[in-house]
Each structure stands twice: as C-alpha cells, then as structure tokens.
C-alpha cells in the first residue's frame, strides 16, 4: 500500500504549494451556489426546495473544473510515463492520484456544503444528510471523472470534451445525492438513497481505477 500513499502525499504536497488551483474550484462552488438565489429570487420556500439540486449540480461542476489537471501536468513533464514504467502497478498509483484529487477537490466541497446550505435555509438535520450524501458522492465523482480525464489527456479541446463525456455519467450520483436530501425534507426515509450511493461508490472504487489505467495506457502509447 506504500506506493498509494506516496502518490497521495506527493500530489497533495504539490497542490498545497500552488494553492490557487485548489482554491479556484472551491470559490467556483461558492460563487455558483450564490448565483442561483440572485437569478431566481429570494423566496425562502422556493430556495429551500431547490437547494439540494443546486448544491449538487454546483459540486458536479466544481469537481469537473479540477479534472483536466488530474493527469495533465504529469503527462507534460513525463512523470506519468515513469509511473507507467515503475515496478508498482499503475492502477495503484492512479488510485492514489484519484484519492488526492478527492482530498483536494471533493473534501473541501463536503466541508463547505453545510455552510452554503444555510444560505438556502436548510435545517440542521437536512444539512447533516447533505454532508453525508456529498461525503459518499464526491469520491464517486472523482472516480468517474478520472476515466474521462484519462481519455481526454492531451486531446484537442479536452476541457469541453471532458464535460460532455463525464456529465451524463454523473447523473445517477446527482439523482441519489440530491434525492437523499429532498427525501429527508419531505419526511421520507433516506436509507435507500444513501445505500445506493454507497453501492455505486463501491462499484466505482473497484472499476474506475482500472478503466482509468487502461485509458492512460492508450494515451501514453
């Protein structure tokens, strides 16, 4: 397991020395969620109703914003090729990079979401469900997104293409993530939503690093 944590440590260190890149996605999340009340109007009832969807869509887009950087820098300076040649399996290193991406991009969103939820007048228990759903959902977004990032590595117009490839695959996470909070507000049981989200996370944890590795090998040929 050592190569995994070494990759995580390296990526986190690199990102912390250039903080602006990490902070951009976080500020994007804050700004986008704050735009919606300005566009829709300040009625608390309506805002409370649409809050889970808005926060989740904003989280999707913020994750997407950080994805092109996941492999791009390592691809440019040749680190990725060294990783592919190294004795430790590439899948493990890729899993480390995805984990680092989540720590830098997903975890801040999870921690910020309750604060932003207050803007939408969500009550404390709904905020708790929102945080829990994001905690399960954002790693899923990083895992699926990594496949797209690897496929579009070094491709013309990669950023827009990445959105086109990845966003349709994000739909189940969006449905169950936002659905959990909505169900809680409506007084329904949220166990089903969270279980499905967790099940998808387990599936993606197994398959996504594998598919990402395959895609990276194609890109490195």
């Amino acid at each position: 397991m050592n190569p995994l944590f070494a990759t995580v440590r390296r990526d986190v260190l690199l990102a912390l020395r250039r903080k602006s890149e990490v902070l951009t996605a976080v500020f994007f999340f804050v700004i986008v969620t704050s735009l919606f009340p300005l566009g829709i109007g300040p009625e608390p009832v309506l805002l409370k109703k649409i809050a889970p969807g808005i926060l989740w869509v904003a989280a999707l887009l913020a994750t997407l914003l950080g994805l092109p950087r996941l492999f791009a820098a390592d691809h440019l300076d040749g680190t990725l090729e060294q990783m592919a040649l190294s004795p430790s399996p590439l899948g493990l290193l890729v899993a480390g990079k995805i984990l680092a991406h989540w720590l830098l991009c997903g975890l801040p969103l999870v921690l910020l979401a309750p604060v932003l939820g207050l803007q939408f007048d969500l009550d404390p228990s709904a905020l708790g469900i929102l945080t829990l759903a994001l905690l399960l959902g954002t790693p899923l977004l990083s895992l699926i997104g990594a496949i797209g990032a690897a496929l579009t590595l070094g491709v013309r117009g990669g950023g827009v293409l990445l959105a086109l490839l990845v966003l349709p695959l994000y739909i189940p996470a969006l449905i169950f993530g936002a659905g959990a909070v909505e169900a809680h507000i409506a007084g329904l049981d949220v166990g089903g939503h969270l279980s499905l989200l967790a099940a998808m996370l387990v599936l993606a944890t197994f398959f996504a690093p594998w598919a990402t590795t395959a895609a990276l090998r194609v890109a490195l040929e």
């Binding site: 293409l161 739909i171 169900a183 499905l196």
Partner: protein, 246 residues
C-alpha cells in the same frame, strides 16, 4: 477447429472485409426496403384507428423501432469496441465508429417522434418521464463517443479511447436507467405514466415488428457503407486500396 478460427479472422483484416461488406450491402438495402414497404403498408392501411388516440398513434410505428434500435446499436457498438480492445482487430474499432452516428440518429429520431406524439396525446412536447430522460442521456452518450473519436487524430488511439468509453457507458446504462426510473417515481404527480398504454391489436404489433426489422436492416446497410468509407480513408496508403479504387 483451427480452420474455423482462421476463417473468422480472415474478415478481421480491412482488405478482406471491404469486398465482403460491399457484397452484403445491397442485400441489406433490399431487405430494409421490403420490410419497410410492408411495415408502412400495415401501419398506414391495415392497422385500425386507435379508439382513444385517433390517427396520431401511428407515430409509434417509427418511434418504437427507433428507440429499440438506439439502445440495441449502443450494445452492438460496445460489443465491437470490446472485441477490438481485446483482440486488437482493426475492423472492430472501425465498426464501432461506423455505428455511432446511426445510433445517435436513432436516438434523435426517437426523441423527435416522441415529442410529436406527446403533443397531441399529453398536450406537451416533453415530460420528465423515466424513458424520455434515459433516451436523452443515451443520446448524450452517443455524442460523447463521437466527439471523443473526432478529437483524437491518431485513429488507433481514437478507437481504443472510444472503446473504453463505450464499455464504461454500457456498464452505466442500466445504472442510469434505474436511477432515472426511481427518481421519476419519487417525483410522481407531475408526470404521465407511459405504462398505462392500452394493449395493442395484433396488426399494430405486426406493423411495429416489420418496421423494427426495416430499421434494423437499414442500420446494418448504413453502418457497412460507412465502415467501407472508413476503411478506404484509413488504408489509403496501401496498394490494395489503390487497386480497389481503379
């Protein structure tokens, strides 16, 4: 045993597949025309007017086959993509690339005719029904596949990247379908349930099946024509292409 393997792999080479595809195309066009004429005749002249929906229901003779084909073509595309990835055969990747536009066309046709059907029946062009929504997402998946292939210059890399995307998509399609379905039941009330359609008369079913066969044959004919063009484009540096075009 060994003989049969060699026999199948013979057509994995573009050079031998090109003339085979050329010989098959007229047959599939003919089958598409025959099934199409028979299907249209049944659906317009034989099938009775629906008691509840009037003449407008006849849109389903195009709509349902198009929806079926849009889903089926994605599976076939993923099959060729997976085969190409596993066996490294060149024609498989070209086949997947040739199928994608037809699949996207079928998905678009299905959405379009669905809107035309929805307006007189439900009074609205679009509802966020589970089937409509998942068809729309399928259309997006086709667009993503085509955009990815178009963005990569090296055809071999484009094939492999597209193959991985198609396989990821095919794993996700059931997940997307069920999530959209459950999302829809959670938000009942505002939507119209498609499942309450009255049971179909025998002739209507025949018309629909014949139209589905016509669409199927058309898709094969078009995909083979397109794969021939792709073969010529990619193999233009070889001698046999120069001879074939003379």
């Amino acid at each position: 045993m060994r003989q049969s393997i060699i026999h199948w792999f013979k057509y994995a080479s573009p050079q031998s597949f090109y003339p085979l595809a050329g010989r098959m195309i007229p047959w599939f066009w003919a089958a598409a025309a025959i099934f199409g004429i028979a299907g249209l005749w049944i659906s317009f002249f034989v099938a009775p007017t629906d008691a509840q929906q009037g003449e407008g229901y006849r849109i389903i003779f195009v709509h349902v086959p198009a929806s079926w084909m849009s889903m089926f073509i994605y599976l076939v595309m993923a099959f060729w993509a997976g085969l190409g990835l596993a066996l490294n055969t060149r024609v498989s990747g070209m086949m997947a690339q040739a199928l994608a536009p037809t699949g996207a066309l079928m998905a678009a046709l299905s959405l379009w005719t669905g809107a035309f059907w929805g307006k007189p029946m439900w009074g609205t062009w679009w509802v966020w029904d589970a089937r409509l929504t998942s068809e729309l997402i399928l259309f997006f998946l086709y667009l993503g596949f085509m955009a990815l292939q178009a963005a990569i210059d090296d055809p071999r890399r484009a094939d492999k990247a597209g193959a991985i995307l198609a396989l990821v998509g095919v794993v996700n399609i059931p997940i997307i379908y069920f999530s959209v379905k459950w999302w829809n039941t959670l938000h009942q009330g505002s939507t119209i349930n498609l499942n309450k359609a009255p049971s179909m008369a025998q002739t209507m079913l025949w018309g629909m099946l014949l139209m589905a066969l016509a669409f199927w044959m058309y898709s094969i004919a078009v995909a083979l024509t397109r794969v021939r063009a792709i073969i010529l484009e990619r193999e233009r540096h070889t001698d046999w292409v120069k001879h074939a075009l003379e």
